[in-house]
Symmetry: C2
């Protein structure tokens, strides 16, 4: 420990148990999170390198952590390991000439958006947590969000990065150009690798011109099938810049909290935006409205007023905290091809009844990515067990429907047991080969994405 303190500096190494405790879990509240021996609060890539070199020489696990907003336990602490916090590395440099941002991992997504906006530019990826999640975590999980249906995910905006490898070396991958095919695409390999291959110390992000003010449409439906049919009709014929879904449980939870006048009887509510130029947006919204009516929407409303629209979006963003009022949440993040969305939503309802666990469903419906929220009474141990089974059932269902166990939150520790079913044994074995090639000691975020035991036999 003295060795570590000597290298990175006393002020940056936390060994006080009370402070350490704040760094043991992300927002997934992993009950199995371990206790690290120290937290290193890096202020430079040299600190990151020093911490990883120390960890490598002692074969100690290193779990990198940004803002701690992860939802899959990807940054749960590991017993005897180091938490490497990047929260204090948050420089942002915007280059308007090349429309790029060079960003340290601790910078918040919202800070990058704001810095870009000062130059009339836009960093599109918008996880619901954008106000308090950091870019390092966004890149490490390939975070999604609401605008992805039209604008893609984090990976689509990362041109290059600096990453510290398992032996402490820092390498530069990619650059500032859209086109660069010199060697394997390692930039993309590290995106979404959840800290298992290296620690990202800088990302070069692509920016685009500011988004046009959108027009927002809200539609309610008295049947789930109508709602999912309308979603498919919209996504297969138009290009909304947002297409969000809330089910009856969620609508009521949000209404309980906000009293904003949502239709409590509705089976589902869709929030759709078009950010095309005014005339085209009007056409697009009109067509979407017609499709909603064709699928028997009970109420359709649209607005170009920014404040009115923002109130609606805030309702959507409040969905998780609103549902959380009713119990402890187990968050899912399953995705399916859009023609299977109806079957997924109906199947989740069946699982909820079978396991006797309320499941609220919110979804980035336009890209098939859903967030079923299992609502568990923290004092009911038996229900917790049923919820664990339901949690697996939902993932199994998504895989059966040709989908994925995680669209944007990452596998982390909570979904790791289901990874093999999601991608198959051969693809998992390929993952293992790459993990072994890049982190032969398995010190980088062990237990996340891959089972700790996956690497024992081969060492």
């Amino acid at each position: 420990m003295q060795e570590l303190i000597a290298t990175v500096g006393e002020g940056k190494v936390v060994t006080n148990p009370a402070t350490i405790d704040n760094y043991r879990r992300d927002r997934a509240n992993d009950p199995d999170a371990g206790t690290p021996i120290a937290v290193v609060r890096a202020t430079s890539s040299e600190d990151v390198q020093a911490a990883i070199r120390f960890a490598a020489s002692h074969a100690i696990p290193v779990v990198a952590r940004g803002a701690g907003s992860g939802l899959s336990g990807g940054s749960s602490a590991v017993d005897g390991g180091i938490i490497l916090s990047l929260e204090n590395m948050r420089d942002i440099i915007i280059d308007p000439l090349t429309r790029t941002a060079v960003v340290q991992p601790g910078a918040l997504n919202a800070e990058v958006k704001a810095a870009a906006a000062e130059h009339g530019l836009w960093y599109p990826p918008d996880p619901s947590s954008f106000e308090f999640c950091s870019i390092g975590g966004n890149v490490a999980t390939n975070a999604g969000g609401l605008c992805c249906v039209k604008y893609g995910v984090t990976a689509d905006y990362v041109l290059g990065m600096k990453v510290v490898l398992a032996d402490g070396r820092q390498v530069q991958l990619g650059g500032t150009q859209v086109k660069d095919v010199a060697g394997l695409n390692l930039t993309q390999l590290f995106i979404g690798s959840e800290g298992t291959l290296g620690v990202i110390t800088e990302a070069t992000l692509r920016l685009v011109p500011a988004q046009r003010p959108p027009t927002t449409l809200v539609a309610t439906f008295s049947s789930l099938d109508d709602a999912t049919d309308a979603i498919l009709a919209v996504t297969s014929t138009m290009r909304p810049s947002m297409l969000e879904f809330m089910d009856n449980y969620t609508i009521n939870a949000v209404e309980d909290l906000t009293r904003m006048g949502l239709e409590r009887e509705a089976a589902a509510m869709l929030i759709v935006q078009s950010d095309e130029p005014a005339e085209l947006a009007a056409q697009e919204i009109e067509q979407i409205q017609a499709l909603c009516h064709r699928y028997d929407a009970t109420d359709v409303f649209h607005t170009s007023d920014a404040e009115e629209a923002e109130a609606i979006i805030v309702a959507r963003r409040m969905a998780i905290p609103a549902v959380e009022q009713n119990g402890t949440l187990l968050l899912e993040d399953v995705g399916v091809p859009l023609p299977q969305l109806g079957e997924l939503v109906r199947g989740i309802d069946e699982i909820s009844q079978l396991r006797d666990v309320p499941i609220a469903v919110i979804a980035h419906a336009g890209d098939g990515n859903t967030h079923p929220l299992l609502v568990v009474d923290p004092t009911d141990a038996e229900q917790q067990q049923r919820a664990q089974r339901a949690y697996g059932d939902v993932m199994d269902l998504a895989v059966q429907l040709g989908g994925t166990i995680t669209g944007e939150h990452g596998v982390g520790r909570l979904k790791q047991p289901w990874l093999v079913n999601s991608i198959g044994e051969d693809a998992l074995e390929l993952n293992h080969r790459i993990k072994r090639a890049l982190d032969p000691q398995n010190i980088l975020n062990p237990g996340a994405v891959f089972a700790p035991t996956d690497f024992v036999a081969n060492e």
Copy 2:
């Protein structure tokens, strides 16, 4: 050989030397291409698996090949190896509901575009060779094109793939969804891997709504600096859907061939398109015109007439064959950050004078990707040697300017010696580790991207 014929079927194995000779080289005309023992013309992924299993069991090199339109020698034959031709695997299935295409590797880019267009959809990536290059090669090189400045590269449109590994197993990677973060992003790792990690037998491609008819602007400049300044002014303030550059040498070569009335005295010509909705396109083109005038354009002209525009684009597409009339070409594919484009173009001119080799420059200027074309007299051995030096000089210059040795053609065999300078030793070593992990025998396209000797010591 009998074993191979027995497995994949006699009709699919070519051993006739005259026919084999047609498969030894791609469009790079690699003088060092070897002579394979056979060409396997696969008609299914089972054929691909059988060929690779055969190769693996005998430790024989396998070079996959699509339409043979590669420009870096990525599919040059290897002595004693097998050429695995995918030209007969060309199924295309469009799913308009999910706006995806499931495509076999031999399907031509133009065929995918046409199949998508039947459903009002668009597959954007548009290498200049789109009429005769195949999707497998596009994915294997992460091919670019003209529209990338606004619409991104091949990688941005690949959601999933089937790939046959070095041991003959076929794995499915990714799926049909934009959001999927289950495990490492192996789909993206295989994109641009130039056949060194596996052979792609199917790709799932994302399609988007049909492009609006563009407005096209042509501007000529009497100085290179003015032209590159105008490019930077346009790309840093607008979002053209195309921004192409031709230098004086190229303009004259095209004019020699077409007699279409290009301005022979111009130092450079820009071709710019906007595909925004009519009113916005008119505004955008007007602004671009104003910027061109600000940088002293000698002539600016624009049209919304499709035929007139097509004639201009054809001129751009004919640039390489036109320059080729003047000698044998050595094609470069260097890219730089846009603020360095002027320095690159001036530096290339200096290299041309220093080495006494004509170098024509065409560029996808909007994304900083240039194609300097070294024009060599095939009967002048001394000039050929000077051209080889100039070829390296241009890549060295791009790297010095913070750019890449290859933006979209791939490293192949021709640029392999320069890869280490482009990405650095540490990144190259990471590449090697992944290559070894996935192809421990180094049978997949040995000598492409990486030096054959890179893997000898470790076996």
